[in-house]
């Protein structure tokens, strides 16, 4: 932790970064996003199993407001969002000072201690505890035995359902949605200036809080993440109604990988899946 503080302090002193988006612990011991602007601020920066937030969501706000580099503390899952934002022209690699942290899992319930039963779903299938690239790396890597990927089991179950059963399952889930749009606000990939639900002339998406409106919102949001969701699970964490939103986005990510060998946010050079056409693309979906 001291190492992280030192790296950030140096970066701010040496003006390697204009400010650093990181985490600090408040007086109630809650770990929260924090922007360190001075070397003194850097003292407050921290990292722990409770550093859940994906800070990359803040990056697109600064995309045209570059005046020195932006520092950001990232776990390996968060780095995928950074990479994806670079791929999608929201920020430039050169405008970033990336401080990677070795992460051995974050909590599901922030009020409780980190343990086997209190682990984020994404951590259960996380491939890399160390971010693949960074400008500086902090934190020691700790071994931690991950519990089973129970979401994958649930997904397999859903896969086996008939179309009607699936529709029923999702209708029941989307029924709960209160259209707070927290899922969108927290998502690093939902950086549109005007979301399609806000487009009213003409109204593309039924914005009423009816089952039809809820369904079309949730489906459109999920579809806009097809081949783009980087799997930070922030949407699901933000949803006040406990809708298992990542069942949809993770599934699409899995299909993108099985059909096209593509994972968004894992390469700065690979062309994005969406928007890239190749003559070798499969066409067997055309029946």
């Amino acid at each position: 932790m001291n190492e992280l503080k030192q790296i950030c302090k140096d970066a701010l002193t040496e003006k390697k970064a204009r400010f650093i988006i990181g985490y600090k612990e408040d007086k109630n011991k809650r770990v929260k996003p924090f922007i360190a602007k001075t070397p003194e601020d850097a003292e407050k920066l921290t990292f722990s199993h409770h550093a859940v937030n994906n800070l990359a969501v803040y990056l697109s706000r600064f995309k045209n407001n570059i005046d020195g580099k932006i520092g950001i503390v990232v776990k390996s899952c968060d780095l995928k969002a950074v990479t994806a934002l670079i791929q999608e022209n929201q920020i430039k690699r050169d405008d970033l000072f990336i401080i990677g942290v070795n992460c051995s899992g974050v909590v599901l319930d922030v009020a409780k201690e980190f343990n086997k039963d209190n682990t984020q779903i994404k951590c259960k299938y996380c491939q890399a505890k160390t971010p693949p690239y960074y400008d500086a790396l902090a934190e020691e890597s700790k071994e931690f035995e991950m519990p089973d990927d129970d979401q994958a089991e649930l997904m397999a179950k859903i896969d086996k359902m008939t179309a009607e059963e699936r529709l029923e399952f999702w209708n029941a889930e989307f029924e709960k949605c209160i259209k707070c749009y927290a899922c969108r606000q927290v998502c690093p990939m939902c950086y549109c200036e005007k979301c399609i639900v806000e487009k009213s002339e003409p109204q593309w998406i039924d914005s009423s809080s009816t089952s039809r409106g809820n369904f079309s919102w949730n489906i459109i949001r999920a579809f806009h993440q097809a081949g783009r969701c980087i799997g930070c699970h922030e949407c699901e964490r933000a949803c006040p109604m406990g809708i298992p939103l990542t069942l949809l986005t993770r599934k699409m990510g899995m299909v993108a990988f099985s059909e096209f060998g593509y994972r968004h946010g894992t390469s700065l050079t690979e062309p994005t899946l969406i928007g890239t056409y190749s003559t070798s693309d499969k066409e067997d979906f055309i029946k």
């Binding site: 045209n64 200036e193 487009k199 003409p202 593309w204 994005t272 928007g275 056409y277």
Partner: protein
């Protein structure tokens, strides 16, 4: 808004299944419709006059025509309306033919659907806006790709009309396959003698810029305004200094290692070479794959002997860009490779004929070289293995063509003719020789073609045997040809000295790649696709790109030349106007909501999306958004479908129009 509705019977085409008077009556009650009528042929002069009259008398603002596909007559009706004073883009077509009458049988149901289609169009037209066509200037210059007879003809026609031409040829010389031919059917005139003057004319023409040993790398832009990047491969010889004296080739120590492409491998050439004596330009190139200097760093013989200091081993490929208004593709063909182990796995080859295994089994182009006065035997018919005169020669037609199992299902079309020619040339030179031709059918359609084949049979006594050959093997220096005479129903065995296979013409291997560069279509064989098989045979689906010669399908010289002149004429039509009118149906970005993800840029097949910086008054960058280049945009709508936040709209197909249509549908 005052809308006029016109329902066309299309003769019987629509009228048979759709009750047009009833449709017209129903339309009269739609809100906004002030005029509605039906007529037998709306596209005819009297039909168009009905529309014009109604516009004038009822002061219509918009028109909906229920007729055939907009592809067919949208332009017709737009023009008619414009001449009566309303903007062309205030016209909508409801497709009552392809989308309704042609695909339904029940009159009552079809009529109901026709009324629905009309209502959708009426609702849509209420959101149309008057639009102005976009005018873009035309670059009055052509690019011709391929310097065979087709490319030569097209280039000369355009240049002689007074416009500049850039002719790109990938080989060191122009001339193509015609330069390799001995004499040509059906008149037996010497190929070189009629071709060489044209090659020279190209070279000397002040309006033609010849870029030999070059290939097209990239094409941007659109009809009237293409920007073409051309790779000029390193010749290792400074073209401007070389006088074509040929001393370098003469002194080059590599005489045996390289096979002459021009002689189809029947002779050798040096590492520095001109393909043939009449080559245009008469400038050698160094084949770096065999040159001793490039392999070992020693030799430089050519450099030492060249008095003009034209040899340059350090030369690199260079790139030039040319602005042109039209492109003519004339890249020709190649011959089916018939070896047992063909280079491309999709071709099965004819191992049983022993091509590549027996020296005396050759293909048609090799025979052309043997029969040619400029060829490896100076025109004497001598077989490759021992340079003796073959007394018995067998020609086999349809090798690779009309054979789905081992080759291609199409007819290569010229082989019947060139085989008859070969047999004739043989008989003219070897008077006591016997010539046999195995054929499936004789296809000799064309002026004086049938007469030509009859002459081979009747005057030159060539033996035509109907049937296929199953196997060829060598025994005591003879080729044993085993086949079947299907007319007599008997097996045939011929002990031949030389066998000539009439192998199919096939598309150039790189044709699909070039097609992708040019954004044109190609068929499953790799031949370039015309825009319409009957009415637009030299155009492609990309405006301003035309086809000439054997790159389109197997063709002989007269057909290739005719097609080349047609392609030249199409270019000249384009150059007839100073400005091109383009449809105003293009994409438009809502800059206030665009997030600058540039997915639209990725999907645009026409490179029409650019990045635009928006700055405040102090010059600070506010944001970067997508910008549509109206010259490049083809209005395909792909970006429109891609943008997640719906920040791009297609003018003429805007959201309001589509929603009005969908809503009208939902009300049904």
């Amino acid at each position: 808004m005052k809308i006029g509705v016109f329902v066309c019977h299309c003769g019987e085409n629509i009228g048979r299944t759709v009750n047009c008077p009833e449709v017209s009556k129903a339309c009269a009650s739609f809100p906004g419709v002030v005029h509605s009528e039906d007529y037998k042929y709306m596209c005819s002069d009297p039909g168009q006059n009905l529309i014009k009259q109604a516009i004038r008398e009822k002061h219509l603002d918009a028109v909906v025509v229920g007729s055939c596909s907009p592809h067919m007559h949208e332009k017709t009706f737009r023009k008619a309306c414009a001449s009566a004073g309303i903007n062309s883009y205030m016209v909508e077509i409801a497709n009552l033919r392809e989308h309704c009458s042609w695909i339904h049988e029940d009159i009552a149901e079809a009529t109901k659907k026709a009324i629905d289609l009309m209502r959708f169009a009426v609702e849509r037209v209420k959101f149309n806006h008057p639009l102005q066509t976009i005018k873009v200037p035309v670059t009055k210059r052509s690019l011709v790709i391929g310097g065979g007879i087709s490319g030569i003809q097209a280039a000369l026609d355009i240049a002689n009309a007074g416009f500049e031409v850039v002719l790109v040829e990938k080989e060191p010389s122009i001339g193509g396959h015609m330069s390799q031919l001995s004499e040509t059917f059906p008149t037996l005139d010497c190929s070189q003698c009629i071709l060489t003057p044209r090659m020279v004319e190209v070279y000397q023409h002040p309006k033609i810029k010849l870029l030999s040993y070059s290939e097209v790398e990239n094409v941007e832009g659109f009809i009237g305004n293409f920007k073409v990047t051309i790779r000029r491969k390193a010749k290792s010889v400074k073209e401007e200094l070389c006088t074509g004296c040929g001393l370098c080739a003469e002194k080059c120590p590599i005489k045996k290692k390289a096979l002459s492409e021009f002689d189809e491998g029947l002779s050798n050439r040096s590492a520095i070479y001109v393909p043939f004596p009449q080559a245009v330009p008469n400038v050698p190139v160094i084949d770096r794959s065999v040159c001793t200097y490039f392999k070992t760093g020693k030799c430089e013989m050519c450099k030492k002997v060249c008095g003009r200091e034209a040899i340059d081993f350090t030369q690199q490929d260079t790139f030039v860009t040319e602005d042109v208004g039209s492109i003519i593709v004339a890249t020709g063909y190649k011959l089916y490779s018939i070896e047992k182990k063909p280079e491309e796995s999709i071709y099965k080859g004819y191992g049983e004929y022993g091509y590549g295994k027996y020296k005396n089994v050759i293909n048609g182009l090799q025979f052309e070289r043997i029969a040619s006065a400029s060829g490896p035997t100076s025109g004497e018919i001598l077989r490759p293995s021992d340079k003796t005169e073959p007394k018995k020669i067998v020609f086999i037609q349809c090798v690779g063509s009309r054979d789905e199992s081992k080759g291609f299902s199409y007819c290569s079309k010229i082989c019947c003719m060139y085989t008859a020619k070969h047999a004739m040339l043989y008989k003219h030179k070897v008077h006591d020789g016997e010539a046999y031709v195995f054929y499936m059918d004789i296809r000799s359609g064309g002026k004086n073609y049938e007469e030509f084949v009859r002459r081979a049979i009747e005057e030159d006594h060539v033996n035509y045997i109907r049937g296929r050959v199953s196997k060829i093997y060598e025994e005591d220096g003879k080729l044993i040809v085993k086949g079947e005479d299907t007319l007599a129903g008997l097996p045939v065995v011929i002990e031949a000295d030389l066998v000539v296979l009439a192998t199919a013409m096939i598309a150039q291997q790189e044709a699909p790649k070039l097609a992708q560069t040019l954004n044109i279509s190609y068929d499953k064989y790799g031949y370039f696709q015309e825009a319409h098989p009957k009415l637009r045979p030299v155009e492609t689906n990309t405006g301003g790109v035309f086809l000439a010669g054997a790159c389109h399908s197997p063709r002989d010289i007269p057909e290739s030349v005719a097609m080349a002149s047609a392609a030249a004429a199409k270019s000249l039509v384009l150059f007839g106007a100073d400005m091109l009118e383009r449809e105003p149906i293009i994409a438009k970005v809502d800059e206030s909501t665009c997030a600058g993800c540039f997915y639209c840029q990725k999907v645009c097949a026409y490179n029409a999306i650019e990045k635009k910086e928006i700055r405040d008054r102090q010059g600070n960058l506010k944001k970067v958004v997508a910008f549509v280049n109206s010259g490049l945009c083809q209005g395909c709508g792909t970006c429109n479908a891609t943008c997640p936040s719906k920040s791009i709209e297609l003018i003429g197909f805007n959201d309001d129009q589509i929603f009005a249509q969908i809503n009208a549908f939902a009300e049904v």
